[in-house]
Amino acid sequence: MDLHLTSEQTLLRDSAAKFVAAAGPKVARGFRDQEASFAPARLREAGELGWLGILVPDSTNGLGLGLTELALVLEQAGRGLVCEPIGLAAISAAALAQGRAPHPMLERVMAGAALVVPALQEGAHGDDPLLPRTQAVGEGASLRVTGKKLFVCADSAEGFLVSASGRDGPELCYVARNAPGCTLSATQTVDGRKLSTLTLADVPADLAPSRQSSRNAVDALHNLALLALSCELLGVMEKAQEITFDYLRIRKQFGKLIGSFQALQHKAVDIYTRTEATRSLVYQIAANNDPYRIDPVLAVAVKAKASEDALIVTQACIQLHGAIGFTDEHDIGLYLKRAMLLSSLLGNAAAQRRRYVAIAELTA
């Protein structure tokens, strides 16, 4: 179903689509097994377009827009298999802009000149984000962080937003990459990019700014990250199914277009229904929540749904292509791989459901 957008929102979507037209499978392939997993110039371009400050208030030179606008941009990024971490940078900028005085990194992050990414995950199954094992001790200038963060998109990052348990509960800390005691070890992802383990040994840090009135900064950033990942997953599944439906309209077997076969038509409708449900969910949440205070039940719900559906949809897309879909040469596999990456980050569908059980109180 069409989205109900204002003319400004339509313009934003169109300009994101234009940006993405220069990306796509071919460009994504180019970064495989390379030293750099994205083009810094393209990140700066996104910064110039204002997208990295999309959630940042205009009083601090951001665009001051909402989640719908963020979703429109990230959905396009997902469609184009964009490698630049636009979503991670944009939500980090939102975090750095909280509080009375924004963090000194904010300007450069918004410009795309420096990359700051969240480092929130500690376990393979996305454990309780509000009870990090990473510890923060001391305060002010003597704040120090010790712990280990997994699956961090650390490539080219200058700093991290790290969740840590402090004296009064979870705290969001800014850690510079070149701070003493901060080490990274990278592994290759299935789609040829990199995820890192971030080890922090008594590393100096400073508290990310927070508003007293706002929800806990860790919770707020975590929920925002869940939605941002879901928006990209949505774009991935949308584009994958479009490629697949096109194929069903041209491929012939038994003397007929295979898209005329009812078994394949019904499978096509099943994935279309999943994609549409995820799309409505993403945009209804976006329209009804403030960026830095998303209802955690909804954030977890949308990440669970998008993670599950993106895998089901892209798997079906491979199947509907047949043997050609199993080749590295064909692009459709790239969408499955991107779905694998994004759906696993911050906890896969099953991990989200476990958390949903706790926060929606589906317990005895």
Binding site: H4, S260, A268, A360
Partner: protein
């Protein structure tokens, strides 16, 4: 969950809630099968006297002239208080069709009794040989002077055995190609000589529907709606709107609450495998609510979603079924009990709602037919 009432809508909702709480008899609340007319129609008449029987009808025809949002609020509040399902063939089907396609005499004759609840309507579409393939229907209506002679057999006709009138699709041109070009839309007085009605018991134990035999039934030519052989278009004209209306997530939310009550009573709520499935179901209810508000938003912008609304029917009906599958799982050994199960949290109906909802993916175009429609008309897949 997503749609928020304006202050005026909140006031409307509270008025409706208070009135329903005060006026809906306790015996009619939370029924999982539709009560028989003798029990149900007095409630219909109460709503009618209040002026609330037809929220979606314009005021000139005796309706409330309510906005779409107010209609949704009515649906939600009726569901919340556990109101029984009314006979809707008059209110939701033939009423709106008459408003759009009926002539003045037909409107004057038929619309007021629907509002008053003095007549009950049934829908004569399906036949033994024409279910999913409805266009192959063969009940014949032959025009002879000033009347039609109707001969044939309708089936799965909801409440036919309680009905005073039927709106029917009948074949008026047996040679027409395509076949749906030979179908007309006819109103039939169910008290006419030559009609025999036999109730059919469903797997849920009620006799919601019936089959009807027409043996040379005389129907005045003035009972034709629209033009001869234009019945297919008329029958399909209002379908999209109806799919949205029947997809209100309130029904799924009620099913979800029933599962939680049953699961807590049976002890399975502490089981992590069950919790995972319940979480998945609950997340899907949230997605359903999102699809619904999305469709409502578009309709409010007069950009009705059209054939895409089929996916709401597919998703919604299959979700209701999966919820009820989870319900019998929650009930465990109690699932096979026909009667409501007494628990520390009150009585819970299990078998009946589970059985009832099997029909959801069959009536109004089966899920398979809906998928065919979406594949062709939305995804533009080839024939």
């Amino acid at each position: 969950m997503f749609r928020r009432d304006t202050p005026a809508e909140t006031e409307f909702r509270m008025n409706v809630r208070t009135w329903l709480e005060a006026n809906l008899p306790a015996a009619l609340r939370g029924r999982t099968t539709r009560p028989p007319p003798a029990e149900l129609m007095p409630w219909y008449h109460t709503l009618s006297r209040k002026g609330w029987i037809a929220p979606h009808w314009p005021k000139q025809y005796g309706g409330m002239g309510a906005t779409l949002n107010e209609q949704i609020i009515m649906t939600e509040e009726l569901a919340r208080v556990g109101a029984p399902h009314l006979p809707v063939q008059g209110l939701n089907h033939i009423g709106p069709i008459l408003m759009e396609f009926g002539n003045d005499a037909q409107k004057v004759q038929h619309l007021p009794p629907i509002i008053a609840g003095s007549v009950i309507w049934c829908q004569g579409y399906s036949e033994p040989g024409a279910g999913s393939d409805l266009a192959s229907l063969s009940t014949r209506a032959t025009l002879q002077g000033d009347h039609f002679v109707v001969k044939g057999h309708k089936i799965w006709t909801t409440w036919a055995h309680h009905s005073d009138w039927m709106f029917a699709l009948v074949r008026t041109d047996p040679q027409a190609q395509p076949r749906h070009a030979g179908i007309s839309f006819l109103l039939i007085d169910m008290h006419s000589p030559g009609i025999k009605v036999r109730p059919i018991k469903t797997i849920a134990g009620d006799d919601e529907f019936a089959e009807c035999f027409f043996d040379d039934v005389i129907v005045p030519a003035g009972n034709l709606i629209g033009k001869l052989n234009d019945g297919w278009r008329i029958a399909n004209a209002l379908l999209g709107h109806e799919r949205i209306g029947t997809s209100n997530p309130q029904f799924a939310l009620i099913a979800l609450e029933r599962i939680k009550t049953m699961a807590r009573a049976s002890g399975i709520m502490a089981d992590s495998a069950f919790q995972d499935r319940l979480a998945a179901a609950s997340i899907n209810v949230t997605a359903m609510a999102a699809l619904f508000s999305h469709a409502v938003e578009l309709t409010n912008q007069e950009r009705s979603p059209g054939p895409e609304s089929s996916i709401i029917k597919i998703f919604g009906s299959e979700l209701l079924q999966s919820l009820n599958e989870l319900l019998i799982e929650a009930a465990g050994g109690h699932a096979s009990t026909e009667h409501p199960i007494a628990t520390e949290f009150g009585e819970v109906e299990v078998a009946t709602p589970y059985l009832q909802v099997r029909r959801a993916t069959i009536y109004g175009g089966s899920s398979e037919i809906q998928r065919n429609v979406v594949a062709r008309r939305v995804l533009n897949l080839p024939n």
